[in-house]
C-alpha cells in the first residue's frame, strides 16, 4: 500500500511539473499573441493613416495643372536618365 502511495505521489509530482511546464508554455504563447496583436494594431493604424494620406494627395497630383504635370514628367525623365548613366 505504501508503495502505491509512493507511486501516486511520484505521478502527482510529475503531473505538477508538467503543469508548470504547460503554464510556462501558455504564458509564452500568450505573450506572443499579445505582441502580434499589438504589432498588427500598430501596423494597421499606420497603413490606414498612410492610405488616407495617399488617397488625399493622389487627388492633389491628379488635379495638377497641365504645365506642372508636364514639368513633373520631365523631372521624372531626368531622374530616369541620370540613373541610366553607369560611370
Amino acid at each position: 500500500m505504501k508503495k502505491g502511495i509512493k507511486i501516486l505521489l511520484s505521478l502527482i509530482i510529475l503531473s505538477l511539473i508538467m503543469l508548470l511546464f504547460n503554464i510556462y508554455n501558455y504564458y509564452i504563447y500568450h505573450n506572443k499573441q499579445v505582441y502580434y496583436l499589438n504589432e498588427i494594431n500598430s501596423i494597421t493604424n499606420e497603413i490606414n493613416d498612410k492610405s488616407i494620406y495617399i488617397l488625399d494627395n493622389k487627388d492633389t497630383l491628379n488635379n495638377l495643372d497641365d504645365i506642372t504635370k508636364n514639368k513633373l514628367k520631365v523631372y521624372e525623365k531626368w531622374q530616369r536618365k541620370i540613373k541610366e548613366i553607369d560611370i
Binding site: M1, L8, L19, N22, T44, K50, T60, K71, L72
Partner: protein
Amino acid sequence: MAKENKRNRYLIYILLTTLIITIFINIIITININLVQNETNILKDNYNNLNINKNYIENEYNTLNEKLSSILNIDDNINNIKNDFFNKAKTLEDKILSGESDKKIAYLTFDDGPYNLTYQFLDVLDRYDIFATFFTIGLNKDDCFDYRGHDCSGIYALEASKGHTMANHTYSHAIFKGLYNSTDSFIEQVKMQEDLIYKRTGTKTNIVRFPGGSATAGHLKYEIIDRLRDTGYGWVDWSSSIGDGGNLRNYDIGWNNFINSINSNIEVVLMHDYNKITLQLLPNEIEYLKNNGYYIFPLFYESNMVNK
C-alpha cells in the same frame, strides 16, 4: 492495523483525486495551448501579410512624397537634376576621352527648325525617352503649320518644356545673304536668335552652331569664336551626318550615310527636323545607337564636344 489501513486507503483516495485533477488541468491547459498556438500562428501569418502590405504602402507613400516634394520647387528641382546629370555626363565623357572608359555617347542634334514636322520628331523622341538638342533659327517661323494646326512659333516652348537643349543657329541662317559678311553681322544674328528663344522659352542659349558648319565662316572663323567666347557661347560642329541638309534622295542613302559616319565613341549626329526621310530614319538610328551601346544625351555647355 485496520485503522492504519483505513487511513492509507483514505490517503490513496485523496492522492488519486489530486492526480486526476492535475491531469485534468494539464489536459485543459494543453488544449488551450494548442488553441493559443493556432491563434498565434494565424496572427503571425496576418502580421507577415500586413508587413508585405505595409512595405507596398510605404513605397507608394515615399514615391508620392517624392513627387509632392519635387512639385513644390519643380523649376529649381529640374535645374538641379539637370546640373547633376550634366556633371555625371561630363565625368563619363572625360573618362571616355582619356581611354578610362569604353562607354559611348551620341548627341542627337536637329538644325534649322522649327518646322511643321518638328512635332513628329518630338513624338519620336518622347517614345524613346530621349533628350536631344535643337539648333533653331527664327526667320519665317510664324507662318508654318503642322498637321495638328499648331504654328511653328509655339514649338520653341514645346521643345524647351520637354527638356531638350535649346541651342542657337543664328536668326536668319542666311549663309549667302550677309551672315558671314563680318563678325558683327554673325554675332548680331546670334543675339537676335538668343532673344527670340528667350522670349519664347525663358531659356538663355549658350551653344551655337555655325550655319553650314564652322568652316563656312572662312577667315572670320576664329574672330567669331573669340567673340562667341566673350559672350559666353560655346560652339559645336558635328561628327556624324545623314546628309539630309541638301537633297537626301531616299531612305537607304540616309541610312548608309548614318551608319558609315558612326565610328567614334562620342558622336555628334547632325540632322534636320524638316526632312520626312530623317523622320523615318530617326527611330532606326536611335535603335542602332542603343544596340551599339551608345548613351544618347542632349548637348550641354560643359561638354567636351562644345568648343569654347
